[in-house]
Subunit: 384 residues, 4 copies
Amino acid sequence: MRAVVYEGPRRVSVKEVPDARVERPTDVLVRITSTNICGSDLHMYEGRTDFEPGRWFGHENMGQVVEVGAGVEKVRVGDYVVLPFNIACGFCKNCERGLTNYCLTAQPDPAMAGAAYGFADMGPYAGGQAELLRVPWGDFNCLRLGEDAEERQSDYVMLSDIFPTGYHATEMAGVQPGDQTVIYGAGPVGLMAALSATIRGAGKVMVVDRHPDRLRLAESLGAIAIDDSAVDPVEAVLEQTMGLGADNGCECVGYQAHEPDGREQAASTMNRLVASVRFTGRIGCVGVFVPQDPGASDELARQGKLAFDYGAFWFKGQTVGSGQAPVKRYNRRLRDLVAAGKATPSFLVSHELSLEQAPEAYEHFDARDDGWTKVVLHPTTAGA
Amino acid sequence: MRAVVYEGPRRVSVKEVPDARVERPTDVLVRITSTNICGSDLHMYEGRTDFEPGRWFGHENMGQVVEVGAGVEKVRVGDYVVLPFNIACGFCKNCERGLTNYCLTAQPDPAMAGAAYGFADMGPYAGGQAELLRVPWGDFNCLRLGEDAEERQSDYVMLSDIFPTGYHATEMAGVQPGDQTVIYGAGPVGLMAALSATIRGAGKVMVVDRHPDRLRLAESLGAIAIDDSAVDPVEAVLEQTMGLGADNGCECVGYQAHEPDGREQAASTMNRLVASVRFTGRIGCVGVFVPQDPGASDELARQGKLAFDYGAFWFKGQTVGSGQAPVKRYNRRLRDLVAAGKATPSFLVSHELSLEQAPEAYEHFDARDDGWTKVVLHPTTAGA
Amino acid sequence: MRAVVYEGPRRVSVKEVPDARVERPTDVLVRITSTNICGSDLHMYEGRTDFEPGRWFGHENMGQVVEVGAGVEKVRVGDYVVLPFNIACGFCKNCERGLTNYCLTAQPDPAMAGAAYGFADMGPYAGGQAELLRVPWGDFNCLRLGEDAEERQSDYVMLSDIFPTGYHATEMAGVQPGDQTVIYGAGPVGLMAALSATIRGAGKVMVVDRHPDRLRLAESLGAIAIDDSAVDPVEAVLEQTMGLGADNGCECVGYQAHEPDGREQAASTMNRLVASVRFTGRIGCVGVFVPQDPGASDELARQGKLAFDYGAFWFKGQTVGSGQAPVKRYNRRLRDLVAAGKATPSFLVSHELSLEQAPEAYEHFDARDDGWTKVVLHPTTAGA
Amino acid sequence: MRAVVYEGPRRVSVKEVPDARVERPTDVLVRITSTNICGSDLHMYEGRTDFEPGRWFGHENMGQVVEVGAGVEKVRVGDYVVLPFNIACGFCKNCERGLTNYCLTAQPDPAMAGAAYGFADMGPYAGGQAELLRVPWGDFNCLRLGEDAEERQSDYVMLSDIFPTGYHATEMAGVQPGDQTVIYGAGPVGLMAALSATIRGAGKVMVVDRHPDRLRLAESLGAIAIDDSAVDPVEAVLEQTMGLGADNGCECVGYQAHEPDGREQAASTMNRLVASVRFTGRIGCVGVFVPQDPGASDELARQGKLAFDYGAFWFKGQTVGSGQAPVKRYNRRLRDLVAAGKATPSFLVSHELSLEQAPEAYEHFDARDDGWTKVVLHPTTAGA
């Protein structure tokens, strides 16, 4: 089969690799019809992780089932399914409580937790930027889609990661009807957080970023766009909230946060959130932070530490929740909203390309070229 | 009336001051029969805050009602009452949701929230280390006690702060029956957190400290004492939990954390908690941290920042809740446990003294003299 | 002042009565600018309760503050305020946990809980269908409105009862984004429940009733209208939900439920809900049921009992929550949604009348005359 | 293998039946070392259900794994495991939210939900009152035990049903530290509810029953025993709670409730709970109720209806949760409490017998013979 193989820093190529196949009785084999390029893929693409050359990326996947193992009972050949990026067994201490983001079985390192397709340090699993994908514990991990699956792929594929991830930020932040919510970051995840806050009935959603195309997309959702290259975002939020601060906030940027002048400043969004959110407010942080970052420019960052305004955080009695999203906790209800026409997450897709066009897409996306908001690759055609 | 007046760094004296009195129709006037010295009093006593000389401390108070304003309906003269250290109006946006720790009315500074008796930056309210105390919004702030109030004062007075504060740590940490819980700090609050975890049905409670008297008290509750001057506490916790880490953790130390060798290291307990608590675990932080600390030895601490292992925290998908406890959310149910004989928080009281002995008590307590675990002052005798 | 005085079954007249006034230091006096007639008023109007002739109705009230007691600190003369129908002290065991619907102080009967303005068995408080209203514990009970209060009265007055009551039904039912929710009853409360379910992100809202005007209003919210005079509503819901039943349901009818043929059948909506809602689903019941109903036609109903399908309920593992809404728990966030233009509850107002027109309005509303969906009375003009 | 085969009303015999075996790759085969007789077994034993002669009972099972299917990854041959009585797939809409009590896959009837071993209408699964048991979806359904499993079987086997079921009652009732909790029924489940309430920190636990041996066991837990053959239990509870009623309550009796004079009165415990629990209180109902009961003496009961005091229930704003317990939600944490020596549910075991003694045990248990509180059968010996 063909796959987008990682060759080394900033080099991928589309190549022939061994076919994915059913290896265990509980596996499901999926022909991938849509697979996204994610911001997390760029960390690996840029060589900032220990992702091994020769493997391939792709953790935002959907497609059609072509084979099932002998122990599979729910999923049938021919079903359209979307796969959570987290691979989870369904029966460990974490999975049984819904914490599929930290599965203890799928992750081979006993000191760690959590697994994903085509991801550094998240287990040996192949990615979905390929024609076929092996899905372990298929009955648990496959979310089946309805009759409109094929034609609405660019909506449904978002259930694999960014839509549930954005939603998870609002869940950890405790967004409720009438709330004033601030979101730092208007990349794909930040925009999904803004969409999620709206779905949950927020009274006012404020989105902080500096890319005009992203801010426009935020405004298209009815959010208030705050351009932090033009104004102090903390002051802008306070002004919008009678000086009290937002009821809750979402971090959708991560450790590669930059100042408008280009300096990387991992602590800046969290510290601004502490300042932007009211006393007793909650913060949900889904932007990626890492336990160590050997290539970072300052010593704290190298050790995975932030110079965090913990005193202010404590003084205000805030709460922060963190980490990767347990996609499976939300994907069913978000699917139902998509199916009912009440959510259209595809609004941020800028490019739909073939697998062969992936190398070019990585180049543009990595360069943050204007207009490259979100790329969906179509390795195969449904029913092909 | 007599009060323990602050004269300047490490100087208090017992003096005549103007009588507290009913000032507003919703006030209640209480004759103080028990009032504790708290670790927070020491911050002010040592001159590390801007607490004004001439004022007096005391935010852990109980006593007997001697007068009520014209707008008071529930509380009656003669009632024994215990007062939450937080002064709260009961009707602002925060109080109406139970966030009495961050009352917007009682705190005069509109950029802040929360108030307390005899406390730096927490409003102009007089303390209770005196013969009389004015209690604003008396019907809301007074918790009435039963017939055993007088004889069990050293239990009931703990409802004013440390028992609910320790309980709040376990609430934010989400301690549930069967959990393995680690508590950093075996001072009065940490011991109350250990008691609270036990009440909530924890399967294993581990308490980290280095003072032998405190560790003995922890063991008397059935907890496992970990002496961090003898062993690496993170390793000890991992060993107790099959290498997975505790289910949840409580921070009961605060920014004045010290290494065993005596260096102040504000970040150490939080970072150890991140390392001691399992993936997806929750941490409740009631140890005090401050937005700035001008007298601190390093630059980060001066700005109220911690070099926080945020990367590890995020990677493990943990949650941390913080801040002062909303005492009123818990004091009624904890009172009922005391009344039923199912909790005896007085077990940590080391000294019961008269108001006149307060200066000497401050000296010993500030010096962390062995055996000075918790001091209760009795400014007046009930019915006097 | 003028008030709509109850004279006996189906007789009210507008008369001069003694002015409402500040009686206690915590009272606020409000000049009523909008006050609704509620379905509950009709129970009293029809003489089915022991409401005393000479008193006056009115528990859905808003207006402008004209005087405050000496113990009032937040509310100011001139403020526009809307009042929860429940009168609550703010400091009893129930109020402090947000259960203002069951205040133990405002209700004089120690065997009961909860109080309201102008309501049978809910304390001695005068109603708001008058020029002036005394509001006990004014700082706790008044929700202040913004600058658009005067011109958007018919929206804001709904915060006094039916909007929070409908919302409470969806809260008890646990409506979450993507859910399929069924609501029995499309009267004012049922329509507000449908609006609330939509705000909370429900994927599909189904509303059961038989009055064409009400069903049209439900459809205007995007809900699916089910006419139970034309189809079996249980079957209609099962058909809409792939045979599984709705995720959750709301009872907005109460004990005066009628069959399409006109027979009163108190148990019918609850039993249909049990059949319409899926295994493990939750039901929120805000329709009024009474502990005894001396005028009822059958023996069970006279004793306040239902022939409830408890076996089916248990077998399906359902949960039902019940009772009057704690308006204060929701009115602030719903106010913010109205202010933000994200909710317009006035859509169901059919008539805006003067106080003098009240007797005529009662007649039409009691007769369920077509088009009399909701009546707002304006006893005074703002600033008059 | 040998099994306790149902022959018809009140007739069981121990016979040779075909060996249980691994049928699907996800199955686990367990040699049963302990299996309890449950009150639910008696419903079937008495012939009040459509349980087919020739099948065998046993849904409270533990034992040692003797074989695993090719798709099983966690469970190993030799592991001691305890099995939740509910058989659940782990991946349906209900299981993924933890509602394993209503699994949609294991139950073959699409109009129903939930499955169990050896149980009428709960699927075709064989029971565990036999030498061997086939466990479907073994990785999901087996809870592994530690090294003390063999010697503490009579504690651990309670994790299969009654301990989690009693705990579920307290969870639905929302029992929190300091609460006053009333439990109707001191059979095995009621006693486990009392134990659970104690673990959760209840301040006062009241247990209503009339059998002296059961009331004594309740008292041994520190609960207050209320003998409803001697006093009016509602009045007794009100007296214990200052006339306000218990904070929450548990129904652990079910539809076969009897008056002290012997009449079956299905509605009596629920109606007494409504009267015994305070305004706004929650009730958890785990006693079994059935959608129809053809053999009942009155018409309502035949239809599975109760003459429920719904008016009083609504008037008090109570909530009731119902149904079988999702054992898997609780069994891990309860196991940890047993392992830590903080819970000893075996205290109620009255008889430990061999499989061959089962017929005699059924006879005595069905006759409610004095002292036959709980029977554990040991079909095989560990390691045999």
